[in-house]
C-alpha cells in the first residue's frame, strides 16, 4: 500500500511529507525531486521507478503530489486517491497553491492522518470529514454527536450526514455535454461521441431518496413491452447510452438489475453520473477552415461556421479559438458578426459571438504576418476549438423525471413548484479538450509552397464544440414559488 505522501512546490521543495510505512526512507523525498521534478526532459510517465521505489505523481498548477511505495500496490487506486486528496483539499481551503498549503499545514496533516491509515485509504468524503475535522479547533461534542460522527464515517451512507435542514428544499440538475468529433482531411466524420455529465446541486433536508429517470433506450423499451401503444411515441425519443458511471451514492446493483438510478444524494454539488453516447448525435455546428500561405511570411485564414439546428433555437456565448503559429508578428481580422481579437499570449485568434440562430452562417477572415524564422522547432499545429451553449443536448438526452421522497420529513416531488428547462448555466470550464480534426492540405499550386520543405507544410485542425444543456428543477416544501 501507499508508503508515503509528499507534496512539493514547483522548485522541488518539500511542503508536506507524511511517511506511513517503514520501508520508505528519507532519501525517497530527494530521489523524486532529483529524478522527476528536476529532470531535464519532459515527464514521460506518471509512474516512476527509482531504485525499486515507485513514485506516482500528479500535478496541480505548480504543486506536485507524489505517492511513494515499495510494494505492488493498486496503481489505479493510488491515482484515484491522489485526485481525491486534491478534491478534499480544495473543498477545505480552495485552490491548491503553495501559499494555501503552507497556511493549512496543520489541517493537511490532520486530513492525511484521517484519510490514509497505514497506506490504506479510508473514508474521504468531504461531507463526512467536515463534521469532525474543522479549522476552528475541536468543539466539545456530546456523546450522541460523537457516535453520530463515527457511524457516519463508517456507515453505509458515508457521504451524507444526518439531520440536515433547509427551509427551502431545492435541487438543481445540469446536463453538460461535450461533443467530440474526429474528421478526416476530406471532411468525413470518422468518429463522433458525446461525453456528458449530470451535475446535481442538492439542498434537501433529511435523508431524501431520489430517483432519476432519463430517456434511456433500454428503460423505454422495457416499459414499452408492458404498454404497447407507448413504444411508438417514446421509441423515437429514446437514446442509446454506450456506457455510464455513477457517483458512489448510486445503488449500482439496482441499476444493474432494473436500470433505475436511485440514490441518497450528498449535500451540495456533486457529479451524479457520466455517460457516453455514439449514436444519432446532432452536431450543432460545422466549422470549415481554409488556410492559404502567401509567401513565407504571410498566412491567410478563413473560417466559416454554420449552425445546424432549428432556426427557432438560439446558440449563445459562442467562442471560436483559431491557433496561430508561434512566429506570428501581427494579425488583421475581419469578421461579419461578433468580435474577434488576436491574443498574442495565447497564440490564438479568439472570436466571440453572443448569439446565433439555427441554420445560419458566419465567417471570419484573418491575415497573419509571420516573422521569417530559421527555427527548426516545429509548430505543433493545435486544432481549432469552439465553445458554445445550445438549448438542447447533442446526444438527445432528456430528463424524464426526478423523484424525491423523504420518509421522515415527508416532503416529496409532489410539491414541485416549477420545472424550468431553459435556464443556462455557466459554460464548461477551460478550453475543450477534444478535437475535431480537419486536416487541410495546402494547395500545392501555390509557388511559395513548393519552396518549403514538405514537413513544414501548414495544417490546421478544427476543434470540437462543447455544447451544454441545462435543465433545472426547483423543489420547495412550503409551496413558495421560485423562479
Amino acid at each position: 500500500m501507499i508508503g508515503g505522501l509528499f507534496i512539493y512546490n514547483h522548485k522541488g521543495e518539500v511542503l508536506i511529507s507524511r511517511v506511513y510505512r517503514d520501508d520508505i526512507g528519507r532519501n525517497a523525498v530527494d530521489a523524486f525531486r532529483v529524478n522527476v521534478i528536476h529532470a531535464r526532459q519532459q515527464v514521460r510517465s506518471p509512474v516512476t521507478n527509482i531504485a525499486r521505489t515507485s513514485f506516482f505523481h500528479v500535478k496541480r498548477s505548480n504543486i506536485w503530489l507524489a505517492a511513494v511505495t515499495k510494494q505492488n500496490v493498486n496503481a489505479a487506486m493510488v491515482f484515484e486517491f491522489l485526485y481525491k486528496m486534491c478534491d478534499v483539499m480544495t473543498a477545505y481551503f480552495g485552490k491548491i497553491s503553495e501559499e494555501n498549503i503552507k497556511n493549512n499545514f496543520v489541517l493537511i496533516y490532520e486530513l492525511l492522518d484521517e484519510i490514509l491509515d497505514f497506506g490504506y485509504p479510508q473514508n474521504s468524503e468531504t461531507g463526512a470529514l467536515k463534521t469532525f475535522i474543522t479549522q476552528q479547533g475541536i468543539k466539545s461534542q456530546t456523546k450522541e454527536e460523537q457516535s453520530q460522527i463515527t457511524s457516519q464515517v463508517t456507515g453505509q451512507i458515508g457521504w451524507r450526514r444526518e439531520g440536515i435542514k433547509y427551509r427551502r428544499n431545492e435541487l438543481f440538475l445540469d446536463v453538460l455535454e461535450s461533443v467530440n468529433l474526429l474528421m478526416s482531411p476530406q471532411g468525413q466524420v470518422l468518429s463522433a461521441h458525446v461525453s456528458g455529465r449530470v451535475v446535481m446541486k442538492s439542498y434537501l433536508s433529511g435523508m431524501p431518496e431520489c430517483k432519476f429517470g432519463m430517456n434511456d433506450k433500454i428503460v423505454i423499451e422495457k416499459q414499452g413491452k408492458g404498454t404497447a401503444d407507448e413504444t411508438g411515441k417514446s421509441g423515437k425519443q429514446s437514446i442509446a447510452i454506450d456506457d455510464c458511471t455513477f457517483h458512489q451514492c448510486v445503488r449500482l446493483s439496482k441499476f444493474d438489475s432494473e436500470r433505475s438510478i436511485s440514490f441518497i444524494p450528498p449535500d451540495g454539488e456533486f457529479e451524479l453520473m457520466r455517460y457516453r453516447t455514439t449514436k444519432d448525435i446532432i452536431l450543432p455546428f460545422r466549422v470549415i477552415p481554409l488556410v492559404r500561405e502567401v509567401g513565407r511570411t504571410k498566412l491567410e485564414v478563413k473560417v466559416v461556421i454554420k449552425s445546424n439546428f432549428k432556426p427557432s433555437l438560439l446558440a449563445q456565448k459562442i467562442e471560436v479559438r483559431i491557433p496561430t503559429p508561434l512566429n506570428t508578428s501581427g494579425v488583421q481580422v475581419i469578421c461579419m458578426k461578433g468580435k474577434a481579437k488576436y491574443k498574442a499570449s495565447e497564440n490564438a485568434i479568439v472570436w466571440k459571438i453572443k448569439r446565433m440562430a439555427g441554420m445560419k452562417e458566419s465567417q471570419i477572415s484573418a491575415e497573419i504576418e509571420l516573422l521569417p524564422t530559421n527555427d527548426k522547432k516545429k509548430w505543433a499545429r493545435p486544432p481549432i476549438s469552439m465553445n458554445f451553449e445550445v438549448p438542447f443536448a447533442p446526444s438527445g438526452l432528456k430528463v424524464r423525471y426526478l423523484k424525491v421522497f423523504e420518509p421522515k420529513l415527508n416532503y416529496s416531488d409532489h410539491d414541485v413548484i416549477k420545472w424550468s428547462s431553459s435556464t443556462f448555466r455557466e459554460n464548461l470550464p477551460g478550453p475543450s479538450t477534444d478535437r475535431k480534426t480537419l486536416w487541410l492540405t495546402l494547395g500545392m499550386d501555390s509557388p511559395a509552397c513548393a519552396q518549403l520543405p514538405p514537413m513544414l507544410q501548414l495544417k490546421f485542425r478544427t476543434q470540437s464544440c462543447a455544447g451544454m444543456l441545462s435543465a433545472s428543477c426547483f423543489l420547495s416544501q412550503g409551496g413558495e414559488g421560485l423562479v
Binding site: H57, G137, I138, Q146, G155, S184, C244, R274, T433
Partner: protein, 899 residues
Amino acid sequence: MTVGKDVSALFPDVVNCMQTDNLELKKLVYLYLMNYAKSQPDMAIMAVNTFVKDCEDPNPLIRALAVRTMGCIRVDKITEYLCEPLRKCLKDEDPYVRKTAAVCVAKLHDINAQLVEDQGFLDTLKDLISDSNPMVVANAVAALSEIAESHPSSNLLDLNPQSINKLLTALNECTEWGQIFILDCLANYMPKDDREAQSICERVTPRLSHANSAVVLSAVKVLMKFMEMLSKDLDYYGTLLKKLAPPLVTLLSAEPELQYVALRNINLIVQKRPEILKHEMKVFFVKYNDPIYVKLEKLDIMIRLASQANIAQVLAELKEYATEVDVDFVRKAVRAIGRCAIKVEQSAERCVSTLLDLIQTKVNYVVQEAIVVIKDIFRKYPNKYESVIATLCENLDSLDEPEARAAMIWIVGEYAERIDNADELLESFLEGFHDESTQVQLQLLTAIVKLFLKKPTETQELVQQVLSLATQDSDNPDLRDRGYIYWRLLSTDPVAAKEVVLAEKPLISEETDLIEPTLLDELICYIGTLASVYHKPPSAFVEGSRGVVHKSLPPRTGSSESAESPDTAPSGVQAPEQPAVIPTQGDLLGDLLNLDLGPPVSGPPMATSSVQMGAVDLLGGGLDSLMGGGGGFAAPSAAAPATLGAPLSSGLGDLFDLTGGVGTLSGSYVAPKTVWLPAMKAKGLEISGTFSRQVGSISMDLVLTNKALQVMSDFAIQFNRNSFGLAPAAPLQVHAPLAPNQSVEISLPLNTVGSVMKMDPLNNLQVAVKNNIDVFYFSTLYPLHILFVEDGKMERQMFLATWKDIPNENEAQFQIKDCSLNADAVSSKLQGSNIFTIAKRNVEGQDMLYQSLKLTNGIWVLAELRIQPSNPSFTLSLKCRAPEVAPYVFQAYETVLKN
C-alpha cells in the same frame, strides 16, 4: 519536522503536551511521536501511559486515534503495551474504533509477526470479516490480505463460499476504497467450479459502472480471472465479454494519469482476449492534447487491434502521427506502420508506399526509422517490394543510428545481386569499421560474406579485408567468432557456405512485442496494480518476501473445447491468442548466421547464439588457426569440417534424424523424419514425421515437440480428403500434456477408407492438428510405396495379357540414375516394399526385370526395369491404366532403391 529539520531535541517538552484536551494539539503531538519515537525509544516509553489512557477515552475518535498512532510507533517496548488496548479496541462497540484497530493489526504484524500470532489477533481479525459494518469488513480484508501476502504458505485468508458471500454483500455497502480492497481480495479466490465463478461474476459486474476507475479495474480483474473458468459456449460468457468493453472505453475519459494506468492494462487485456475490444479501434485514436505517455500507449494498442477491417483508418491515422512534433512519438508511429504491414498482409503494399512517402520527407529520424521497418517487411514478404531499394540507397549517407545502418547493410547484403554497386556501398561502410557499433559490425561482416557468395569474382579482396578486420583487429568475441566461422566455412566448402549463409530465412512472426504467455497470464492476475503498469511480475520490482507468490489463472473447466473439430474451430470463437514468442530452431540458426537484426523479439537467442558459436569454435580447432595467425583460406584443420559441418547442416535440414532415424524391422523403406510443421508457424508446436508400412498396415510416425513456454494438451488430428482416402484409423493419443521443450513420439495407424478427392500433386496430404492453443494446418507429401499392398504379385500370364492390353500411350519411361545394385539385390530390395518381380530375363547382357505392384485402391502398375551391368543408370518403363500415378511410382522406386 516533516520538511527535514531535526527537532528531536524537543522530545520531553512535546510529550508533556500529550495529555491535552485539545484534539488538534493531541494529533500534532502524536504526529511528532510517530516521527521521533524510534530515535529516542527510552523517552517514548513516557508516552505509553497516555496512549493506554486514551484507548479508554469515552470519545471513540480519541480511542481510535490512540490505537492508530500506537501502531505507528515502531519501538519494541511500546509494542508490548499495545497488545491489551488493541484487543479491547478490536471488540469496541464503535465501528470507527474497530476499523482502525483492524488496520492496526497489520501494523503490528509488520513490526512483530510472532507477537501477533501468539496473541491470537489473527483469529479476531478473521472474525471481523463477519462484522456488521462494511467498512470494518473492508479494513479487515485489507489487513488480512497484507498479512497473508507475507506468509504465502499460511492459510490465513481461508476463503470459502460462505465468506465470499459475506464479502460480496459488504461490497455493495462499503466505501469506494473498501470495494477495491474486497475486489482485490476476491481476485485471489479460486472458485470450485464454473457455476460458482459465474455467480461471483454476476455479483461483481455492477461495479463496472462505478465512478472510481480503481473499482472498475479491480472488477475487471476479477472478471478476467474467473472468465477463464467459464465455458465459451455459455451465453453468459458472451454477455460478459460484451459487458467488459464499455467500461474499459470509459476509463479513457478519466484523468491522464489514470488513462495511462488503464491503457497499460488494456494492452494486457487486448493480448489476452482480443475479442473484447476489437470493434473499439476509434477510441484509441490519439487526441491532440493527450500527454505523450498516453499517446504512446494508445499507439501500441492501435497496432494490436489493427486488422483487415480497420487497417485503412489506422494507416491514415498513423500517417498523421508521423508528422507530429514529438520525436519519440513519430518514431513509434513509423514503426507502427511497419508492424501493420507485417500483421495485415493486404495492407503491406499501402504501408510500403506510405513509408516511401515518409522517406521522401528527408526528416532524419523518420528516414532511419522507416528503413528499419522496411527491413522487417522485406523479411516478411521476400521478393515483393525490392523495387524500393533504390530509394533506400539514396538515403545511405543520412543514416547515423546503428540500428538504421545495420538494417540498411542487411538490405544491401541480402539483395546484393540486384544492387549494382553493392560492393561500393559496403566498402564505404567498411572504412570506418572500428568506429561502428557491434550491431553494425556484425551485420557488415555477414553482408560482405553474402555479397562474396553472390559475386565471388569481384569481391574477394573485400571479404578478405572484412574477415581480417573482424578476426584480428577486433576485441569483440562475438564478432571474432563469427569471423572465424565464416572464414573456415568459406575455405573448406564454399557450397556448404552458400547453403548456410544464403539459406532461406524463416519468416518473421506476425505479432511482435508480445508478452510471453505465462507472464501474460500472471499479469492478468495483477490488473490495476503496479505490476500491470510495468508489465513485469511483482518479484521484479518488489523487495523481500512480498509478491514472490506467483499467481496464475484458474484452469478452464468446460470440456467443450476438446470436442471441437479442427474444421469448425477457425470459424468459431477465436481461441485465446497465445502465439509462441520463442523463435524456433531455424530462427536460432538464422540468428547465428545472418540475421542479427531479426524480429524484434529475438532478444534471448542473440545471447545463446554467441555461446553456441563460442563452443563450436573451441571444438572446431579454432585455436589452431588462431595460433597460425589466421592464415587465410589455406589448409584448414582436418577436424574443422567434421565438427563444424555436423551441427550446422543438421540444423539446416533437420538431419539429426538421419542418424537416429527409425530402424526398419520388416516392411517397406521408411524415410527419415522431416519437419512438417515448424514451430514458428504453429505457436511453438513442432511436428516432424514420416510414413511407414509394416505388415499390411500404414502408419504415420510423428514427433511432436513443444517449443513454446506453456504446456500443450488436447491434441487431435484430422486429414483433408485426399487422393487415396488416407485417414487416421485411431485418434491421436498423447497421454500426458506436453511440457515445454519436451517431445513425444507417436505412431498413428492409418487406413485408406476415408473419402477420396484427387489432389495435386497426387500424393499431397493436408493435415490439421489441434491442441489447447489453436488449430494448425500443414500439408505433406507421402511416398507412394506406403500404398503398395502385399498381394501385388500378378500371375505371369495375367501380366503378359495386361501389359499388352494397356495402350502404349500409357507407358512412361524414367531413368534411375546412380544406382549400383545388381539385379538380384534390386529385386529383393523392391520386394521389401511390395514391388514384386514376376520375371527376370537377360537380354544382350542387360537384365530385364518385370515387376508388378498394386495400390490400396486396386490400381495395378506394371513395370519393366532394365539394368545394364556397366551403366549405373536403370531404365524404368511403367504401364498403368491410370497413367497419372506413374511419376509417383517412379519416385517410390527411386527412394526405395537409393536407401
